[in-house]
Symmetry: C2
Subunit: 434 residues, 2 copies
């Protein structure tokens, strides 16, 4: 596959694996923007074979489909393979074959990249082709290239992301309407913002895959999906949101990746309180945003649509252009030295907590609760007593403490006879707290 | 200058033109992050000669300085030239020479790129080297690469940017403190947020250079600084800000670039009302942000520090890494077909306006004012009468109308005997208004 960069009449052929919502968007953009893209690439990009599971299904886009993967993968005359079928198998094996055959690969597959990204990047490197996956994280938001290129002279310390549109939509409506989660989720399902089985979204698993990819990029490390400590939003209540609000916070499902001083990496996904003054606090509805703290650049934020046919397709076609330019220029994938950095267990993270306790309305409760915190080296920043009698609650905000200590403290609180229940607990992400 | 990509022990030498605040930051990052950068490039980057005007001046960074440009420009053994001296002359001539000698160039010089960017890009293209200028727009915020690469498969319709930190700092304080501009500007000067001569910032000229660069990139066009219609913030009053606030808007100095249906391009910098719900409305203090409306990707926003030694240096060093990788891979600068698209005169833009009129408190004023609007094909969206007697004011918001018509209408209003003065006028950027 030799290319003559001086020949601007050259055509590169893009084969597609998959023609679902994203695949249809990719085909549409490649066709509708063909002239601009040709101007930007220096070659025309043509849609080659499109592989689908069921060739008889009727489709919105008018392209020739086939169920024979060999017309794309490893096929002579197909320069770039776009994978938008999703899932690990058979995508993993097909893309490995494509890379080994000297085809550049563009994928939107976060599951695959967050588990087998390293092996695919190695294959791309070995065969001097590109592997691009901008669409795998936060849809249309350019984050992979900025991280890999624009921040390549800097040191990223921490990444905080709103990485899942469905959960941000649900939390936004809960915040703005004072509603509980269940009815908002049902409504989101009716509106098509949430799947019939919403587990991947509300359980934090979708965000966890993206957090693993971001951590790998930010810290030049191997981080896979299973390294990510994950909690979803199902336990978030209207009371939590109201409590956060009156103390100047909002609740967001955050993906947080951090490189610690000892070069260990912490990656976690969970709902968290963030100050209303934080730029992530104003990200509403199904939008995504990624907030990056870098040594020299300072704070950066990238905002946009995290999903949807055309936004995701825009990112895919941007990657196709990158791959096409690189092929024409004979450029290799930049090689990045990746280190094996240890993953810090969540118990070792230093975190701040909000806790809501159902307590007996009796003298001395606060002192016994406070003593339990002290016994576990967790220092209380502020505390409010709410309600009376059976309804009495203590709302506490801790200072930053070791997660493991907070957990042990919570267990010990459960054993106190004055504490009827731990009504709620949630981490607080606030830089004002060391 | 042949490079063997397989040799990871290779060293590339980076020569610097200038060692001011940004140059010192670049030298610091290249040194402090040397190991990470080597891992990301696949070669070590060494600081070569550093050219300064006055070699005897004492400096914070410990590097060898010279006043002989020939040790950097066209010098054998200097692979990448970083220009952080600013100004058009002699930067233009020096960088042209460097590019022609086969050196890649990284510059933070917005003045130069916004006036002579096209000729420098052509020189880079002809000599198969890179010209990178991420730091020339919005400091540390990665916007050039996302625009050129991530959005290369999409069609950008409009770019709105808060491109100047000083003016955003001033407007933020005016908004949050209800203060007038003069004392806040004086304070900003005392704090070092504004220059002793603040004209470039408050006059909108700094933002205009950046808007020209953004427009060129967004629309694959030749747009230079002189194509940008420019108004500064000096006429913004506390009253304007209060009026905006109670109608759900904030005032920002915006750079706006738009490609119209007829492929003409409008580029303008001026203060504007934007709805508080717009993501740009929450950009506070000296931060910059760029909001992009693309056909497929939808809305995107990029946020970060627009100036400062280390943030700008982070962008410069990111570009150095890009240039170094390209050299090692033997890659050419991607060629983009640039069209000569006409610039739409500001009079032809379709804009919405806020107007504040000092009027006589007499019967029939409103009807005569309204008739004048009607005569000029400007339709009124809403109107409030404020105060009484000598203090009577009319506050009007128009529907979107041709700018030239609004201007003619304002001239005609001045001639009405009931209208004592046009106390204020400002454009409103609100997508809810077609």
């Amino acid at each position: 596959m030799a290319h003559d960069p001086s020949n601007t009449q050259r055509t590169l052929t893009v084969g597609l694996l998959g023609l679902g919502v994203v695949g249809s968007g990719v085909a549409t953009l490649l066709r509708d923007h063909a002239d601009e893209i040709a101007g930007r690439v220096g070659a025309r990009l043509e849609i080659g074979p499109v592989v689908v599971r069921d060739v008889n299904k009727s489709r919105d886009v008018d392209v020739a489909v086939t169920d024979d993967v060999s017309t794309v993968v490893g096929a002579e005359g197909v320069d770039i393979v776009v994978e938008v079928m999703g899932g690990i198998d058979p995508a993993r094996e097909l893309l490995t074959r494509a890379l080994k055959a000297g085809q550049s690969v563009v994928t939107a597959n976060k599951e695959l990249i967050s588990t087998h990204g390293a092996e695919l990047l190695t294959a791309a490197q070995e065969h001097s082709v590109r592997l691009e996956y901008e669409a795998a994280v936060a849809g249309a938001i350019p984050i992979i290239k900025p991280m890999r290129e624009s921040l390549a002279g800097d040191r990223v310390r921490k990444v905080l992301g709103i990485l899942n549109g469905t959960t941000n939509y649900i939390l936004t409506r809960m915040t703005e309407e004072g509603a509980e989660l269940a009815p908002v989720l049902a409504d989101a399902q009716a509106l098509g913002y949430a799947e019939a089985d919403p587990t991947a979204d509300v359980g934090g698993h979708d965000a966890a895959a993206k957090a693993a990819i971001l951590a790998s990029l930010a810290f030049d490390a191997h981080v896979v999906r299973d390294d990510v400590y994950t909690e979803g939003i199902m336990s978030v209540t209207a009371t939590d949101i109201a409590n956060a609000k009156r103390m100047g916070y909002v609740i967001k499902l955050l993906g947080i990746a951090e490189e610690h001083e000892d070069a260990s990496i912490g990656v976690r996904v969970h709902p968290a309180w963030i100050p209303t003054s934080h730029p992530l606090a104003s990200i509403r509805e199904a939008y995504n945003a990624i907030f990056v703290e870098a040594d020299a650049a300072g704070d950066l934020m990238f905002y946009g649509r995290g999903a949807g046919s055309l936004p995701t397709a825009s990112a895919v076609v941007g990657d196709v252009v990158t791959a096409a330019r690189a092929m024409l220029a004979g450029e290799r994938l930049p090689s990045v030295a990746v280190a094996d950095k240890p993953i810090r267990p969540v118990d070792e993270e230093i975190v701040q907590y909000y806790l809501l306790l159902d307590v007996a309305d009796e003298a001395g409760v606060l002192s016994r609760v406070a003593a339990t915190f002290g016994d576990h080296d967790v220092s209380i920043k502020s505390v409010w007593q709410e309600g009376e009698g059976d309804q009495a609650q203590l709302l506490l905000i801790t200072h930053a403490a070791r997660e493991g200590n907070v957990r042990a403290c919570v267990e010990a609180l459960k054993d106190l006879s004055d504490v009827n229940a731990i009504a709620s607990s949630m981490r607080v992400e606030d830089r004002r707290e060391g």
